[in-house]
């Protein structure tokens, strides 16, 4: 069961870290949107860009990274379905 505990702890740590990124990209940037609108990014005002594209790209990468890393973690701990 030690192996299981470790696997779950690693999973929780990664889930927590990714949720923190999700939270910052969405709510922290959103809260300060009025202060950030004067920067420019790729020709857009920064806060508009983040809400219309930046956050979306971050979400996609985040979900893809999670799937990739969890698959690796599964194999590292022999947790793939059909094993054990």
């Amino acid at each position: 069961m030690e192996k299981h505990k470790q696997y779950w702890r690693k999973n929780l740590r990664m889930t927590g870290a990714l949720l923190a990124i999700w939270f910052i990209a969405t709510f922290v940037v959103g809260w300060f949107a009025r202060d950030l609108q004067f920067f420019s990014l790729l020709g857009f005002p920064f806060s508009f860009y983040m809400a219309a594209q930046g956050a979306l790209v971050i979400y996609v990468v985040l979900v893809g990274y999670y799937a990739y890393r969890m698959d690796k973690l599964d194999r590292e701990y022999g947790m793939q379905e059909g094993e054990q």
Binding site: N11, T15, A51, A55
Partner: protein, 695 residues
């Protein structure tokens, strides 16, 4: 299932859908040729809708099944990539396809709450729910609640909440179906509803989840092609760049520059705008005076006003040279005159609000939370973030979406399929803001400043179809269009894009077919969720656990019919605001399901009492807040912290979480079996022999 069989199945699927996509493009090209040969638009519209709808029905018939696992979860062999497409179609409703670009056009940055909310929610699905639900591996969301918390009370609350939010949502979809069918074929709204419904039924009735899945993949292809083609064309027209997402940054700068010119009364154009705005300001003040007089004078004031109108009309008639236009206006005003004080109050208040909006300067498209003072801006910011959170958590709690992750072959594929879902969904949501800006550029530069005698053809065409979608009136009688003289309904933006871009009619028909695909696919998923909750959770799990497979499926199909007819009946009554219905479904789902589902996986100590208390208090809080604040119900209590009723979930969610935690801590920890089940859900490789098991 053995690996070679699955990989063969996948390559077969890829071949089929590649052929299908090619065939569809060929079909569109063929219709374009027919159009050049002079086939009338109406016929093209009929062919387009007819072919696509019978295509969906055809896939439904081919996928008919009477196997339980096939019927409820498509045999659990839908590959991640295809499940992603199906989820995308399931997810993107008529509101996203037709309404979103318009909302963004009308509210600029603040509308982006929908874009972020409807994509970011998938992070929660991926990280907190999808893999675990797949590992659990049963059939419905109430199944999970029933197994995790034990007993039929959590399951029953789950069934109630699933039906409540799915039904609220499905009404909005069927409404969209009726609207599109009636607009593009000229059929009556009611007939449109039933034609659309027929094709939904053929599909889910015969083949359940299996048919719905494969139809949704087909529908995704149509809807995304239909969305992208006109936007790409518009982008090429205005920027020369075929990637609208990249190109519109430049266009947005132009739009912002135009806004500054039009708001500056020192420039000639700005001065004309200011003139029109001051006329609206006067109208607004007159309207407010009338409202005040109504409050003091009541019914007698209303009667006196009506008498004045009658007098004007009579005077006009008595003249020798009767001006037909003035007479028509006067008679119209008389015909539309409110019957009693209450309806007068509503109608006049709406008119005052509309004039007030027109009298205000243009809000900058890219400016977040624009407002005159700090308090307004702060209120907007709070509501923006609250709405984003409700939409995101609601996404991670709507049963028709979560159910889709039961259909993948493994936990690994479930994780991948959330990724693909998000990719396919993002493709549309990242394009919508570009469309809104491109359309705005067109209106601000080409329409504003043009002469009333030569309006662009799409303007007059749509103004003739529906005044609420598009109308232009020369308020200051200078013969030139000012921005404040244009009224645009949100739905126009997507519907008229092909014409704004100068594309042939066949693309307009394509957009209609895309909107129909979006509405039908979502309605399919929702109705299946409702029928399955009733047949599987209520009938099989609670009433007759020994029911034979055949009997369960027959019950399920019969219920589907009943639900469909009932939903169509409710829709034909045309209940209120579609956007509110959609938003309400998210808030309800977020409050009822999310705390119990997430804590069910991540907190072993959560128990039956906690789930009951949490779900009831969360859902209850959300429903009560909507009831007391949404104007439709007529209570009109003051808002809590200025939060709009659409974001009622912001109160329901924390109450739900606290409910689960307090309820659980006050009662005994869950049994060993249930704790073992939580472990089973957490570790992909763990088997649980005494527990249901997987198929």
């Amino acid at each position: 299932m053995a690996a070679p069989v699955q990989s063969q199945f996948v390559s077969q699927l890829k071949r089929y859908y590649a052929l299908y996509t090619g065939g569809f493009i060929g079909f569109v090209v063929m219709l374009a040729i027919l159009e050049q040969m002079g086939v009338p638009n109406k016929i093209l519209g009929y062919i387009f809708l007819g072919v696509t709808v019978s295509l969906y029905a055809g896939i439904g018939i081919l996928s008919r099944t009477s196997d339980v696992a096939e019927y409820y979860v498509a045999g659990r062999r839908v590959p991640a990539f295809f499940n992603g497409m199906a989820t995308g179609a399931d997810w993107m409703s008529a509101a996203s396809f037709i309404g979103l670009a318009g909302t963004l056009y009308l509210s600029g940055y603040d509308g982006l709450a929908f874009v972020m909310g409807w994509t970011g929610g998938y992070c929660l699905v991926a990280l907190l729910l999808a893999p675990y639900l797949r590992k659990f591996g049963q059939y419905t969301i109430p199944d999970f609640l029933g197994a995790r918390y034990g007993g039929s009370v959590p399951r029953s609350i789950g069934v109630f909440a699933a039906i409540l939010c799915s039904f609220t949502y499905v009404i909005a979809q069927i409404y969209g179906v009726g609207l599109i069918v009636s607009r593009f074929t000229g059929l009556d709204f009611g007939v449109g509803v039933f034609v659309g419904l027929g094709s939904i039924l053929v599909c889910s009735f015969l083949g359940g989840m299996r048919a719905v899945t494969w139809t949704q993949v087909a529908q995704y292809v149509i809807l995304i092609v239909a969305y992208l083609i006109p936007v790409i064309w518009l982008s090429v027209k205005h920027t020369g760049n075929p990637v609208p997402q990249v190109a519109y940054g430049y266009v947005l700068q132009q739009v912002t520059a135009r806004e500054n010119v039009l708001n500056d009364s020192a420039t000639p154009e700005g001065a004309r705008e200011a003139e029109v705005r001051s006329i609206f300001k006067q109208k607004q003040e007159q309207g407010e005076a009338k409202l005040k007089a109504l409050e003091t004078g009541g019914a007698s004031y209303l009667a006196a006003e009506k008498a004045k109108l009658i007098q004007t009309a009579n005077m006009l008639k008595a003249k020798h040279d009767v001006d037909p236009n003035a007479l028509a206006t006067a008679e119209n005003a008389l015909a539309e005159f409110p019957k009693d004080v209450a309806s007068a109050r509503t109608a006049w208040r709406a008119a005052v609000e509309a004039d007030k909006a027109k009298a205000a300067p243009i809000t900058a498209h890219a400016e977040p939370f624009a407002g005159q003072d700090e308090a307004t801006r702060d209120k907007k910011r709070k509501n923006f973030l609250a709405l984003v959170l409700c939409l995101m958590v609601g996404t991670a709690a709507l049963p028709h979406i979560l159910m889709r992750f039961y259909t993948t072959p493994s936990v690994k594929e479930a994780r991948m399929s959330v990724f693909w879902s998000l990719v396919f969904i993002t493709l549309l949501y990242i394009t919508a803001p570009a469309l809104a800006v491109l359309a705005k550029y067109d209106v601000y530069t080409l329409l504003v400043g043009s002469s009333f005698s030569e309006l662009p053809s799409w303007v007059s065409a749509w103004a003739a179809v529906d005044k609420t979608l598009m109308s232009v009136t020369d308020i200051n009688k200078d013969g030139i269009v000012q921005l404040a003289e244009i009224t645009i309904g949100g739905d126009l933006i997507m519907l008229a894009t092909p014409e704004i871009a100068g594309l042939p009619y066949v693309v307009t028909a394509l957009v209609a077919a895309g909107g129909l695909a979006a509405a039908l696919s979502t309605a399919d998923g929702l109705m299946l969720t409702i029928a399955n909750s009733l047949s599987h959770d209520v009938y099989y799990k609670m009433i007759d656990p020994r029911a034979a497979t055949r009997r369960r499926l027959i019950i399920s199909k019969a219920l589907l019919l009943v639900v469909a007819v009932f939903a169509a009946y409710i829709t034909s009554l045309k209940p209120g605001d579609i956007l509110f219905l959609v938003g309400a479904a998210f808030s309800l789902a977020a409050s009822a399901f999310f705390p119990a589902l997430a804590l069910g996986v991540f907190w072993k100590r959560a128990n039956k009492m906690g789930a009951i208390v949490g779900m009831v208090s969360g859902l209850g809080t959300c429903m009560v807040y909507m009831y007391i604040t949404y104007p439709f119900f007529g209570v009109n209590a003051p808002l809590w912290w200025d939060i709009n009723p659409i974001s009622a979930g912001i109160f329901g969610m924390p109450v739900g979480f606290v409910g689960v935690i307090v309820g659980s801590l006050l009662t005994a920890a869950p049994s060993k079996e249930i704790q073992a089940m939580v472990d089973h859900v957490r570790y992909p490789s763990m088997r649980l022999d005494n527990f249901g098991g997987k198929n």
